[in-house]
Every structure is written in structure tokens, then in C-alpha cells.
């Protein structure tokens, strides 16, 4: 159902994908899922790496549009910088599908988003259960945030906090590890120095989560049995750690599936069929999140 009057004049549909940063495994998987779905449709696939830079994001995405793509999929480093990209796309009649991170309030056609706050909530529920199972009665927990500019990732910590407090716990420390493993480790050490009695810690991403679990281990405690440590993303290192009892749990998004989903939406947008949204006001399509712990870790590939 590819339209024949596409931008570059040839018959083949060209899809441009602007990715957040190929340094990260999460986005490598997302890219793979997107590319495979696109090639399966017989489309031509063009990639741009934003390299965690808003200038690079705007320039590169606009260049993709200039080069004549028929549809743009973008996983934006700075969602709030989507404006100029979408303005250009609109001028050229190119639909834009946003993949994850956020939409920044711009008039994109659709956004596939994993439920960050919902993931935080899952983490809180798991943590409370596990703390009880550990036989601990302490009600103090900690939360490690990403860098302050990652506003969408911050929803994970917010969702976690809301739920865990509902369950009767207190977040005694909420500190930023700037999304970096090294800093996550240090921050966890500081948390342990101040609040040796915490019974759980939630981290906004897995590099910091696994690092925090290492800090817990280095303090002579167990990141599953003593201080329930939960990450986010289901990065391979988190899966490995969970298998080895080095991390209690993580929250999985499925970046490859999200990529495939964006291609499906792109196809529909090109065909001008109406899209179905989970949240029509924000044109959001949810991709479910899933909690991964020792119990179900073997089901993860």
C-alpha cells in the first residue's frame, strides 16, 4: 500500500529514522527493530544518529527530510526540540512518528511511548513485596534519578515515589547520578553512609541500578535480600545481574517492538488511514512495560 507519488519520486518508500544515540544498547535494539520492520515492508531505511546532542538532532532530522524521505521516525534526544523538525516535515508533507522519550508538545502524527510512570509503579509494587519477603520492616527507601534534563525519565522516579509512599514507605534520599554508572555507584555509597537502614533503592536506569547494586554489595549487603535494588530498561547487564542475584529487578521496555510499532504506524500514516491511539489527546500509543525479576528472567531473550 505504498503511495506512488512519494517524495523522492521513485516507487520505493524511504523511511528516515533519527535515533537518540547509538552508543546505547537500548537504542541499538530500537534501531534494529525499526530497520527490520521497514525492510520487511520493502522500504528503504535511512539512519541518523543524534549522538545525544540537540543541535545534531535538529540538523540531522531536517537533513533526512531534505533528502526526500517519505516518513520520519524519530527518537528525540530533546523532545522539546521537535518543533522545527515537525515544522519542516509539515511543509514537505512528511508524517512524523515519535518513538519513545517524549513528544514535546509538537504536532507529530503519533508517539509510541512506554509507560514510564507505570514502570515506576511496577517497581514500587515489586519492591514492597520483596522487602516483606525479605522479612525487613524498615520503611526507608531511596531513589536515584537520571540527569535533570531527562524530564520523561524523571516520570519513572515520580511514579515509583507516588506508589511506594502509598504503600507506606518513605523516600529518604532522592539524588541524581546523571544517568551515569560511575556516579550511580558514588551516589549509592553516599546514600548508604547517610541511611544505612534503607531497605530498597530504585534507579532511573540500569547502568546506575547495577552500579548501585555493586555499591550495596561492596558495603557487605545483598542487593536482593538486604536492600532491594531495582533498575529500569532491562539492559543486558541488568538481566545478567538478576540471574546472578546481583540485582533484584528491572523494568523492561521492548525497544525492538517499539521500533516495529512505529513502522506500522508510519505505514498507516502514509496510507492516510486513521490511527488508533491509547491516548487520543496526546496521540499516544502505549507500549506496555513489564517487570523482570528472578522469577521471569529466563523468559527474556
Amino acid at each position: 500500500n505504498a503511495p506512488s507519488d512519494n517524495q523522492n519520486g521513485s516507487d520505493k518508500v524511504v523511511v528516515g529514522f533519527s535515533v537518540y544515540d547509538m552508543q546505547y544498547e537500548f537504542f541499538q535494539k530500537m534501531e534494529k527493530g525499526t530497520r527490520e520492520a521497514a525492510t520487511a515492508k520493502g522500504w528503504e531505511f535511512k539512519l541518523h544518529d543524534e549522538k545525544s546532542d540537540e543541535n545534531e538532532m535538529v540538523t540531522g532530522a531536517q537533513a533526512l527530510i531534505d533528502s526526500g524521505v517519505d516518513v520520519l521516525i524519530i527518537s528525540p534526544f530533546k523532545p522539546s526540540a521537535l518543533g522545527p523538525i515537525i515544522a519542516k516535515a509539515k511543509a514537505k508533507g512528511v508524517p512524523v512518528i515519535v518513538d519513545d522519550i517524549g513528544g514535546g508538545g509538537a504536532p507529530y502524527d503519533a508517539i509510541v511511548i512506554s509507560d514510564n510512570a507505570g514502570g515506576g509503579k511496577l517497581a514500587a509494587e515489586f519492591m514492597a513485596k520483596q522487602i516483606a519477603a525479605n522479612g525487613k520492616t524498615g520503611k526507608n527507601v531511596a531513589s536515584i534519578t537520571c540527569e535533570p534534563s531527562a524530564v520523561y525519565a524523571a516520570r519513572r522516579n515520580a511514579g515509583f515515589k507516588a506508589e511506594i509512599e502509598k504503600l507506606g514507605f518513605k523516600v529518604v534520599a532522592e539524588l541524581s547520578g546523571n544517568s551515569k554508572a560511575e556516579e550511580g555507584y558514588k551516589v549509592m555509597k553516599d546514600i548508604l553512609a547517610k541511611n544505612p537502614d534503607v531497605t530498597g533503592v530504585f534507579s532511573c536506569n540500569d547502568p546506575m541500578g547495577v552500579a548501585a547494586a555493586n555499591a550495596v554489595k561492596d558495603a557487605g549487603k545483598d542487593p536482593v535480600k538486604d536492600i532491594v535494588t531495582v533498575g529500569f530498561n532491562a539492559d543486558p547487564e541488568a538481566i545478567t545481574a538478576i540471574k546472578a542475584n546481583g540485582l533484584a529487578a528491572t523494568v523492561a521496555q521492548d525497544p525492538a517492538a517499539m521500533g516495529a510499532l512505529t513502522v506500522k504506524l508510519a505505514d498507516q500514516a502514509l496510507a492516510k488511514t486513521a490511527l488508533t491511539f491509547d491516548n487520543a489527546a496526546e496521540r499516544e500509543v502505549y507500549n506496555p512495560v513489564q517487570l523482570i525479576s528472578k522469577e521471569n528472567v529466563d523468559t527474556v531473550k
Binding site: L175, K186, D190, K194, D218, A244
Partner: protein
């Protein structure tokens, strides 16, 4: 006391910070926390000491953060490939030395400004690290590697042992050996060093190798903590290393160096960082506080120095 303060002007801001934190928090002065601060300080002090030589020479090495990453990746992937951990660590240190050697050769033999040469190496080595690891974490579980940060010979945490040894060696090398004097001589007046027949190029290369090895050592310490290596580790570390040196009082344009200052600079920075965390400071305010404290620490020194200014001020070679 005043003599001590003159020689180590950072003691005053450091003591001030400690007193404030001791009053403002109830956990700062606990044994666990002090150890925590000192271990963190020890870990930046080690590369800071090497960087002190580089700055004393009037040059920078910006590539150290990428070396941290590549050393970790190399060490961990060697362990994964079945090498014994000590061998893997040795390989990583060699890689660090090779990066330093490359920097030194490009700078001395090709005449590229150190700033650009090491900036280029920063970019290249980061690229190598990402390419070599394929963007994946190199996860290990190695007791021998863990010993680097977790070991406690005589009950003292290993990083502190390493830092103490490095400080003593660094102090001796800087202040008592020909090498250290030549480094300062080059930083003080490069042209004079050449005219006096000092082996300027060899000394410069040696310093870059030293920084490369120290950067790799830093990478091993980080990988020891995290039990992994990957292409993202160590980003921005170059500024951390240079900052502790500059705060410690080593002149940015070379000639003078303070080994003890570097160590105190590391302790001050880590104390501030730890204190802000203990006070649960939100990240935005953390940044502002770190910035202001940096300025304050140096402002106290700067004003003192301006007061001390008397003739004869003009020194040969516009030593700045």
C-alpha cells in the same frame, strides 16, 4: 600554623567545609562516610597526580577520560576472553601507556599543540572504545579486579593505599628528582630548557605516558567498582582530573606544582560532593554550589597572592 596554611592553602577551605558539614548533618563524621569520601578522593587523586606533572609542564591532557573507558573495556574483555585478571590489568595499563606514547609522539614529533592533539585522542580513543566493545557492556565478575577497590590490606581500603603510595612517589619525583625538576623547568621556560640542553621531548613524552598509565589505572578502579567496562564510562573525567590539580594550586601555565595540593583538592571536591548528597541537595543546586565553592576556594588564595605582590615582580619569560 600559618606556615602550614601558606604551603597548603586549601586546608582552610577544607576545614571550613568539614566543620559546616559536621554541624549540618549527623552522618558526615561517621567512620563509614569519612572512608567513603576518602576512597572517592583517592580514586581521582591518582590520575590527578599524573595530571599534575602535565600541568606543571604547562600542558594539558584532555584524553584521559577516554583512556579510562578504553582501559576498562580492554581489561574486562580480556578477562571475558579467559585471561587471568592480573594479565588483563597489565594489558589495560599497556594500552594506557600506548595512548600516552601516541599523544607524546604526536605532540613532540609532529608539533601538534597538546590541546588539540589530546582533544583529538579523546575523540579517537572514545571511538575505539565504542567500536571495540561494539557498544555493549563487558560484564565481568572478577575477585582479583574487585580487589583494587574492595581490598583492605592492613584494614585500609586499597584505593587509599594506592593514593598514599602514589602521593609519596609523586612528591618525591616532583620535588626531589631530576625528572620532576625538568618538568617544572619545561613549564617555567620551555625555550630555556631547550637551550640548556634538557631532553625536552623525552621528558614530555614520559609525562604523557605517565598520564596515559594513570588514566588506565583510573579506568581499572572504575571497572573494579562497576565490574564492567563500556564505551560510555569516564565521560568528562578530563575536567575532573584537571580541576583537582588546578584547585590544588598547580599553575595552569606551568612551572610550579603542588602534589599535596592536588591531593587536598581531590579531598575538597569529594567532600563538597558528598556533603551536598548528604544534605539531599537537588542536582541543579548541587551544580551551583560546586561552582561557587570552587570559586570561593580559589578567591581566598587569589586575594592573598595579590596582597603579597611586591617587587621585583617581573620575572624572565613572562612566567604566567
Amino acid at each position: 600554623m600559618t606556615a602550614v596554611l601558606r604551603r597548603a592553602p586549601l586546608l582552610l577551605p577544607l576545614l571550613g567545609t568539614v566543620v559546616v558539614l559536621a554541624v549540618a548533618t549527623d552522618s558526615f563524621l561517621t567512620g563509614a562516610n569519612i572512608e567513603n569520601v576518602l576512597v572517592a578522593a583517592a580514586i581521582v587523586a591518582v590520575p590527578g597526580l599524573a595530571m599534575t606533572f602535565c600541568l606543571a609542564m604547562g600542558e594539558f591532557d584532555l584524553s584521559i577520560g577516554s583512556t579510562v573507558s578504553l582501559a576498562g573495556v580492554v581489561c574486562c574483555s580480556a578477562i571475558i576472553a579467559g585471561q587471568p585478571a592480573p594479565v588483563a590489568m597489565g594489558i589495560a595499563l599497556l594500552v594506557g601507556a600506548a595512548i600516552g606514547l601516541a599523544n607524546g609522539l604526536v605532540i613532540t614529533k609532529l608539533g601538534v599543540t597538546p590541546f588539540i592533539a589530546t582533544l583529538a585522542t579523546l575523540v579517537i580513543v572514545r571511538g575505539l572504545s565504542l567500536a571495540y566493545s561494539g557498544g555493549h557492556d563487558q560484564i565481568v565478575s572478577s575477585a582479583a579486579l574487585k580487589y583494587l577497590v574492595g581490598g583492605r590490606p592492613l584494614g585500609v581500603p586499597m584505593p587509599i593505599v594506592l593514593a598514599v603510595v602514589a602521593t609519596a612517589a609523586g612528591w618525591w619525583a616532583m620535588n626531589r628528582t631530576r625528572f620532576g625538576r625538568w618538568v617544572c623547568a619545561i613549564g617555567s621556560n620551555r625555550e630555556a630548557a631547550r637551550v640548556s640542553g634538557l631532553p625536552v621531548d623525552r621528558v614530555r613524552i614520559a609525562v604523557y605516558v605517565l598520564v596515559g598509565v594513570a588514566g588506565a589505572g583510573w579506568g581499572l578502579l572504575i571497572s573494579s567498582q562497576l565490574q564492567k567496562g563500556n564505551g560510555q564510562l569516564g565521560m568528562g573525567f578530563e575536567l575532573d582530573a584537571i580541576t583537582v590539580v588546578v584547585i590544588g594550586g598547580t599553575a595552569l601555565l606551568g612551572g610550579r606544582a603542588s602534589i599535596v595540593g592536588t591531593v587536598l583538592g581531590a579531598v575538597l571536591i569529594e567532600t563538597i560532593r558528598n556533603g551536598l548528597n548528604l544534605l539531599n541537595t537537588p542536582p541543579a543546586y548541587q551544580r551551583i554550589s560546586v561552582g561557587l565553592l570552587l570559586i570561593a576556594a580559589l578567591a581566598i588564595r587569589g586575594i592573598r597572592r595579590a596582597e603579597a605582590r611586591t617587587l621585583p615582580v617581573p620575572v624572565p619569560e613572562a612566567a604566567r
